[in-house]
Symmetry: C2
Subunit: 243 residues, 2 copies
């Protein structure tokens, strides 16, 4: 599996993805799942992928090729007039790649399936965040549904539900995502460090901060240990059950 989260904040967007990829438990490797295209001041588009690696790499390569040769730029995510149109191009590309390998066409159960989070900002519109299904259709985030998870989503969801706040700073959001990733990594071998993160500050149409949390990162280590202790302390403070 994989674990990726895209979060919409008042300040902009935050993305985080793990890097573990596996074909069976005995064939584990590392792959970057976060990809960005940027025309500073005009647009920034970031994409994270979960699912069949051949599918997701093919989608990213196709999207990337179409941004390079000007004569092939239709449809290119660098030419899309809005994030909605960019999400349509990504969805269509995903659907085509899955269909080209699946004899019976794309279904949610397709062996070559993949799910994609895409977000960013194009000048003239606010930042937008989408989740794209293997069928190529997609949904958009909203204040009621301000983050998307793909891959191994369940372990890390309770803390996101409980502690997310749209007014968070980027730094607080990354701390929250690290706690969510730590819960997932502790419980599931298919998600692993290092973790990639990126911010897209609203209104700047460029990548803000980005970086990689390595396996020996002292801050992640502190969060991981501190969170275990904090959880036990929080649990101890809850009123006791009496028969």
């Amino acid at each position: 599996m994989t674990y990726c989260v895209g979060v919409q904040l008042n300040q902009g967007l935050v993305f985080m993805s793990d890097t573990r990829t596996n074909a069976g438990i005995d064939n584990v490797s590392q792959a970057k799942k976060m990809h960005s295209w940027e025309v500073p001041g005009e647009r920034v588009i970031t994409l994270m992928t979960a699912g069949n690696l051949a599918t997701t790499q093919s989608v990213v390569s196709l999207l990337d090729e179409r941004t390079k040769a000007p004569e092939d730029r239709n449809p290119s995510i660098l030419e899309a007039p809005s994030m909605f149109q960019a999400a349509r191009i990504v969805g269509q590309t995903l659907r085509e790649v899955i269909q080209s390998h699946a004899p019976t066409g794309a279904t949610a159960d397709a062996a070559f399936g993949a799910t994609i989070i895409v977000g960013g900002q194009i000048a003239g519109s606010p930042p937008r965040l989408f989740m794209i299904y293997p069928e190529g259709n997609f949904i958009e985030s909203s204040p009621d549904n301000p983050f998307f998870q793909i891959g191994e989503t369940k372990y890390g969801k309770p803390i996101l539900v409980r502690a997310y706040d749209a007014a968070m700073s980027f730094e607080e959001a990354i701390k929250l995502l690290l706690v969510s990733f730590d819960s997932t990594i502790k419980a599931n071998l298919s998600v692993g460090l290092p973790l990639d993160y990126q911010t897209v500050p609203a209104g700047r149409m460029e990548i803000g901060r980005q970086g990689r949390i390595e396996a020996d990162d002292p801050y992640f280590d502190m969060v991981s240990k501190g969170w275990g202790e904090a959880l036990r302390a929080a649990f101890a403070q809850l009123p006791g059950f009496r028969f």
Copy 2:
């Protein structure tokens, strides 16, 4: 789905199960998923089920019928000489029920599949706890693996991993399970109140405490709200991330 947890403590065993059952999101009902057989002072066996309701009810009914008529008592879980043999009977019964409805036999993906947690104590041995797969085989808990979850297991796992302690009292364990169930109920519609719980104190070969946490239970409500606040406070206390 369903959510059931069986926990082994130094003091004995604790079981908790939800009661929601559904055949699609538009057909939701309530069913007890915890069943016990008891010969006080001699044996107590408790079973929790997840999966196809027709399968699990059939398994429970077959096990139950075989405890009633003395001439049919072979194999009966009330005659099994050990918890291991009782688990074998449950596994064999589960496998038979699944096979009788699945034309191609039992597989983990069988449409009529089910998973069972069975635990208890028979005089002469310590309490034992097993998880039984649809194929009828099973695994036993150990100090390295002191609890089993079935059904919608992922949301509620991180807190169990973090806060479980074999030396917990039954009351602390029920508080921990309520937190784990609350995280699951908050995230997944297929798990719902009321919750059934039961304890099996080591060495007594009888049911200890048992009860039902109803939807309007004031203690559960306090844990649910208190846990959200406690999580946010614990999160706020973690050291901040800096770019």
